[in-house]
Symmetry: C2
Amino acid sequence: MFLAKIRVTLKPTVNDPQGKTIAQALGRLGFDSVESLRAGKYFEVELDESERAQADVKVKAMCQQLLANPVIERFEYDLEPAG
Amino acid sequence: MFLAKIRVTLKPTVNDPQGKTIAQALGRLGFDSVESLRAGKYFEVELDESERAQADVKVKAMCQQLLANPVIERFEYDLEPAG
């Protein structure tokens, strides 16, 4: 059993209006040291796999096929034993 | 300058229909080892602070005030020197 912690973010060159809006809201709340903010998605996936290498292949494939849009997003993940 | 990598997730007791839907979609794509999936939010925030303790206080406060809904969500973050 493995737990994958997946972070999906927009590529640096892609505009992030959601992140800009949140950064402005933080500024209005008094957080004036915020230089920039990028918003993304986060997934925790429990996988019933016994071998790390196999779990790693699965996680990469599900990111490429469904969880991230490879045209505008990139992904990274940590894989840890669970359960 | 610090970079905060913030993960916001639903509390374990809170229903996650988005996560369930994504898990089902992965199942239909052939990823039959997916046991569960929880969906959350991810933020990367650049902070113009010189001291780690101060940056830490700011990040915690912005999570509590804006980035997470403390009633149904929890947050965790890493803080690393940047730029």
